[in-house]
Structures are given as C-alpha cells and as structure tokens.
Amino acid sequence: MSPELISDLGLAPKPVKPAKPEKPAAPPPPAFKPSDGALQILGIMQRDSRIIDFLMEDISSYEDDQVGAAVRAMQTAARDALVRYVSLAPVIDGVEGTFTKPPSNDPSVVKYLGNVPAAGATGGTLRHRGWRAVSVSLPPLNPKQDMAVIAPAEIEVE
C-alpha cells in the first residue's frame, strides 16, 4: 500500500520509535585477506634480495658472467631473508641416493617415483629430501599498508 492510500483509509502506520543512536563500535579487527601473507613474503624477499626484479627481468641478452655476478649477490641476500623468517628443514633427514624408509604414508609428505608397485612401496632410494617449514615468524601486518605494493617506486632527489 502506498502511503497516500494508507492515509486515505485512515490507517496511519504506528510511529516507529527512532532507534537509539548506538555508541560507535570499536573498529573491527583489521580484516586481512588470505593473499596478504603471500604478498608480505614477496615484499620481504624483494626488499632484502630484489628477487622480483630478477624474476621479471628479461635476461636473455646478457652474458653469463653478468648474470652470474648479479645472481651471486642476490642469492646470498635471498637466502638470508628466507631463513630469517622461515625456518626450513628437510622432510627426510637422510643422504640423497641411499635407501630410505618413508616416515609417513601421507602423499603430501612422501611422493614415490619410478616403478611403484600397485600396493604402494615401503622404501626406496631417497632422491630429494624435501623441505618443511618448521616455523614461520613473519612480522604482524600493518593494516595501514597496501599489501599489493610489493616494492614502492623510488624517486631520487638530486
């Protein structure tokens, strides 16, 4: 029913009490997107080792020794940054190339290669020890920071 019709029928709506102005609620805890953590680690790796610059650069035209010089400097910095925030350990602490029994049947922990029997294998030659992040200690995210900016632009004032 339109307001005019209600009014014409004498059916005035009950006056609605104005809602009490609520106290301004405490700002909700900053909502972070699942991608923010990934962007954060990209930002850290770029800041400390410039790895995004390297990955995004077309290096096909450079001589090997030029690439080598840059990579040597970058790799050291990248490793330092990585181990600072992520503590890494092998999934299987064994010698690659030797016979090893798997610690688990979880396919995300051990992957079998080669002539794997239908019933599954109980051991084999360790080809890759795997990596496990034992602990991750990333600094808290700053809600005021645009996480999508992995590296700020730099402007030098002469």
Partner: protein, 601 residues
C-alpha cells in the same frame, strides 16, 4: 633482587648486559646480553644484541602510518637502531650518526641542536647530548618492556665511556643519561670494561698474570681507537690492577678501513669508465665490509671476492656493476692502517688550515700503529710510575695485550699488531708480548661493565684508576699591559692524574676574589702527558702539553661585593670531575662547563 646493568654506548653500536645480584654468592655471577627490541624494518620489531647507534628523524612521508610503532610507544618521534641505519643510508639528511664523537668534539656547541649535521632546512635537529640520551632512553624502555617486574631505574647502571673522554665529555654523557631518566649511574672506561670481561671469563686470572706485568688494551671499534695500560700490582698481599695510562681520543676505526676499500674499488671502476654515485658508494661500502671479512677469514684462500653493485632500477642484471676486492687491494689498505713502523715513528700532526670545514676532527694520520707508537713512547712513558716496565729508550713495554673491538676480530690485524709490538719489544731487549685470549669482541665492553658493577659489591676484582688526566685552570699573569701582547697565561693544577673516585681535595694557598651576581669564567685545560703535576702547582710555559677544554663558569648568588673563594676538586663515585668554589663561611658553588661557548683554537 637488584640487577647490575652494563651499557656500552658505542659510536656505531650500543649493547647492554646484565647480572643478577644474589645476596649470598661470593663469586661474581656471569653476565647475560640483553637482546634489544628495535625496528629492523618498517612495521617489524625484532630483538638484536646490538643496537646500532643511529637515529633517524622521520618525515611525514617516510614510513607508512604506524610502521614505526614500538611495543612501548605507538608514535615515537625518532627511529632508533637497525631501521634508522638502513633508512638513513637512503636519506642521509635525516640521519644522526656518530653522536658520541660529536659529544666529545669541543669545536661545536654540544648542547645546541646541530644534528643531523647536514640536515636540510625544516628537519628537526637534536643536540649531541639529546641524541645520546635517545639511545639510552631506548635501552631503558626496552628493558622495562621486557622485564616489567624489574624496573630499570631501581637497578644499578654502568655506562661506559672511552678512556680518552675528557671531563667535559664525561659530564655530558652523565647529562645524557639523566635526561634519559637514569638514576644510580656510574661511568666506567671502556678498555677497563673490556679487561673486566676477560677477568669474568677467566676466574683463574691470578694465575695468568703476575706481579709487575703490564697489560696493553687495544680497542679499535667502528669509529674510534683507544689505548690503555693496566699494571698488575700487589696490595696487602693480593694482586690488584691499576690503570696507569690512557691514550688520546683518536677518531679512526673500522669504518675508515671499509671506506678506504670502497674508494679503492671505486677508483678501479672509474679507471674502466664506470662512475658510481653516492648511494652506490654506500652499497659498495657495505659490500666491501663483507668482502673484507671473507678475505680475512683464515680459512679463505680466495684471491678476490666479488663486490657487486646491483642495478638500481628494475633492470637488476642489466644494471649490475661488477667489481671485485682483491687480496692485493686489501693488503694495500691494511698496510696504510697498520704499517710496520719503528717505535719512534710518530703520527703526522693535523694540518692547520686557516679555513676548515667544521665537522668531526678525524685523525690526520690513518696509521694506527703510529698512534700506538706515540702512546707507548710519549704518553705512557711520561708516567712517573715504577710499575711501568720501560726499555732503554724509555718506551713503555707491555708484557700482555688484550684486544677489543670489531676490527680486531680479524686474525690478520691481530697478528700484524703483535708482530709490530714484538719488533719494538725485541729492540728494547724484552721477550715477545703475550696475547690474552680473545673474547666476544663486540659485546665484551657491556659484559665487563656489568661484571664491574658486581665487583663494586665485593664480588670480584676492581681496577684502580682515578681520573685519566691532569686538569688545570688558567690564570692570567698580573703584569703591566704591553700593546699587541696577550697577558701570559699560567695554569694552576687543580686535579692530578690518578685522583681516585670518591675523593676530594682543597687547593692550598690560592684564593680568588669573585664578584657576586655576575658570571665568572675560567679557562680550563687538561693534559694526558703531564702526570706529575700536583694540585696547587702553577705551570708556566706549558707549550703544547696542555689542551684547552670548554671554559668553566660560576655565578655566585647573593649580594655584597667580592667574595674570596678557594677551589675544591671532587671526583665523584661515578667518576665525574667537579670543581667547587668555597668561601670562608663554608658556602659552596659548583663550576659548570660552559659548552655553549666556542673554544678558541
């Protein structure tokens, strides 16, 4: 249960160590390093055992909002520590560095806001005292944050200063600590602290040194070099230690070496036509430090280490400048800093140029071995002390050497110094010097300071020392004025070398009439060389032996003409020298350093 906290307020790095003081233990407990929470990146606080002594004055657009928050302060005015150092390299106009060297620089007004030295207009500036105070305040708040049940101000605090700091620099260090909210502080000399750290690690030290031994402490840090001699004596049948000589303040250290390496590499690049700019030189400087450490590693056989400067823009590989630091480059630079010289080979004196850029008074001669020769042959040899072993040429000849400071982590440098010292000792007819085994050279001063704090409670050995200089007040000679000639200046000895902490003395037979209600100013001098002048002694014709410090002034309150006063010297328990004017009726006024006046050179 009180703690003793030792603070090494360094030129480039600061550190803090602490010892709990259990009431019933007779042996000194060992010191622990305090990991200092600090901003290491924007929005990232981490704990490191060293707090880089850098302060960055952030502009509004320097960091994202909230990125400089500390656990104890959401919006700090300044960024201190690792992040300050990193960001400051990118924007040097807002970076305060080497505040400690400015604190001891008598050519500037140390209480006025002058740092960052090359700040553009509009950047808030701090005084050297304020900057030092900020580092100390950071340490205090970090402590309170991590140890809320052990309030910092209730603990006993020891702050180290270079042995070569004069009375003014010590006074200003104390002021900085007070401004930072410190109470109960004691000043301690760094080389002594380093030696305490060695004692702390060697409870059997009495078997390692013997009566009559003379220990040379060589401390080469990032920005300064300091020498001290400690003698092993006997008192009441017990071995005691006495600090018998202290060198001059030399602004020369590891940073100079790294910069010299960076310049060497930079010149090689320039010869090939590649120019690098200021920011790239900064990167090269840091890379050369790492490369130097790799080359100096005794395990390393590498002839050269690459020092690559990565491209500035997104073209990382394309813009990369390849360079390398060779062993020959390093040897050549180290040869400049540690030449094998004779013990009578003195460092070049500072050139006197009429117009000089005001800045830190860096050492004119980079050869650390020459400075050491000067210390042993002139400063230390001037001690009228039968405990100092001397050779036929008069050279003070130490039996042991203790190394401290990051530069001496390098085996090559230690061996070069040992070989130079041994050549000198051999020429004097003495046996080779013994090296006291090295400690953790970056943290030893803070650890040793904490140990010393326990030593004062009777739980360890204490080095006797007293003040490391003789101090004088300038008195104008009363004589008829001669046109064009200044009235000759005489110097009245007011405190002698070695005057002990916690003692005072009245200068006999000298009275001065001071006018009430007006400031009276005194010229103030010191000498590290003249060690045998006794209080009250008047020195004429002192030539270059005396060094002028900031003047001292006193204003007598009250009314009524001229008050006859005499001088009284006090060395406080905390190691600070004070001069007082005392009237006949017992009224006393303290003379204050007037660091605002530029000292006439």
């Amino acid at each position: 249960m009180p703690h003793v906290i030792g603070i090494d307020l360094g030129t480039t790095n600061s550190a803090m160590a602490y010892v709990g003081l259990p009431a019933d233990v007779t042996e000194a407990p060992s010191a622990s390093m305090f990991a200092v929470p600090q901003l290491v990146n924007a929005s990232e606080v981490a704990e490191e055992t060293l707090l880089p002594s850098f302060l960055y004055v952030p502009g509004e657009k320097d960091f994202p909002e909230g990125a400089t928050a500390l656990p104890w302060n959401e919006h700090p005015d300044y960024v201190i520590g690792r992040l300050a150092q990193k960001r400051g390299n990118e924007n040097t106009g807002r970076l305060v560095s080497s505040a400690k060297s400015w604190l001891s620089h008598s050519g500037v007004d140390r209480l006025s806001p002058i740092l960052p030295w090359k700040a553009p207009e509009g950047v808030k500036k701090l005084s050297p005292v304020e900057a030092s105070s900020q580092y100390l305040a950071h340490l205090r708040e970090a402590w309170n944050n991590k140890m809320p049940n052990v309030p910092f101000v209730d603990q006993e605090i020891l702050v180290t200063v270079p042995a070569s700091f004069d009375a003014v620099a010590r006074d200003l260090t104390q002021k900085a600590a007070e401004q930072a909210g410190y109470k109960n502080i004691t000043l301690l000399e760094e080389p002594q602290a380093a030696f305490y750290a060695w004692i702390e690690r060697h409870p059997d030290w009495r078997e390692r040194v013997k009566l009559g031994d003379l220990i040379l402490v060589v401390d080469i840090g990032g920005g300064t070099t300091d020498f001290t001699l400690i003698a092993v004596l006997e008192r009441n049948g017990e071995l005691v230690l006495e600090r018998v000589a202290v060198g001059e303040h030399i602004l020369l250290g590891g940073d100079n070496i790294d910069l010299a390496l960076a310049r060497t590499v930079g010149e090689k690049l320039a010869a090939k036509g590649t120019r690098i700019d200021g920011l790239q030189l900064q990167a090269l400087w840091a890379n050369c430090r790492t490369a130097k450490e790799k080359l100096l590693d005794p395990e390393s056989k590498a002839k050269e280490v690459p020092v690559t400067i990565l491209g500035k823009g997104t073209g990382l590989v394309g813009g990369t400048i390849k360079a390398s630091l060779t062993r020959a480059d390093l040897d050549q630079v180290l040869e400049g800093f540690f030449p094998a010289v004779a013990s009578n080979d003195m460092p070049a004196r500072a050139r006197r140029v009429a117009l000089q850029e005001i800045g830190l008074p860096y050492a004119a001669d980079a050869a650390i071995t020459r400075h050491l020769a000067r210390f042993l042959s002139q400063q230390a040899a001037a001690v009228e002390h039968d405990t100092v072993r001397r050779g036929p040429s008069g050279l003070a000849s130490p039996t042991h050497v203790l190394f401290n400071g990051g530069v001496l982590n390098a085996t090559f440098v230690r061996e070069r110094l040992l070989s130079v010292l041994n050549t000198w000792l051999n020429a004097e007819g003495f046996q080779a010097i013994q090296s006291l085994s090295g400690e953790d050279l970056m943290h030893a001063v803070a650890r040793g300071a904490a140990y010393y704090g326990t030593a004062r409670h009777g739980k360890g050995v204490r080095i006797r020392g007293g003040i490391p200089r003789t101090y004088y007040i300038g008195i104008e000679t009363a004589m008829p004025a001669v046109p064009g000639m200044m009235a000759p200046l005489k110097a009245l000895t007011v405190a002698s070398f070695g005057m002990e902490e916690g003692t005072d003395l009245r200068i006999p037979d000298r009275e001065f009439g001071l006018i009430v209600g007006e400031p009276a100013e005194f010229r103030f001098f010191c000498s590290a060389v003249r060690k045998n002048d006794t209080p009250g002694q008047m020195i004429e014709d002192f030539g270059e032996d005396l060094e002028e410090l900031a003047p001292m002034e006193v204003q007598l309150t009250g009314s009524g003409g001229i008050v006859p006063v005499s001088f009284e010297t006090v060395v406080t328990e905390t190691g600070v020298l004070q001069l007082w004017c005392v009237a006949h009726d017992g009224r006393r006024w303290k003379l204050e350093f007037n660091v605002r006046e530029r000292v006439a050179a």
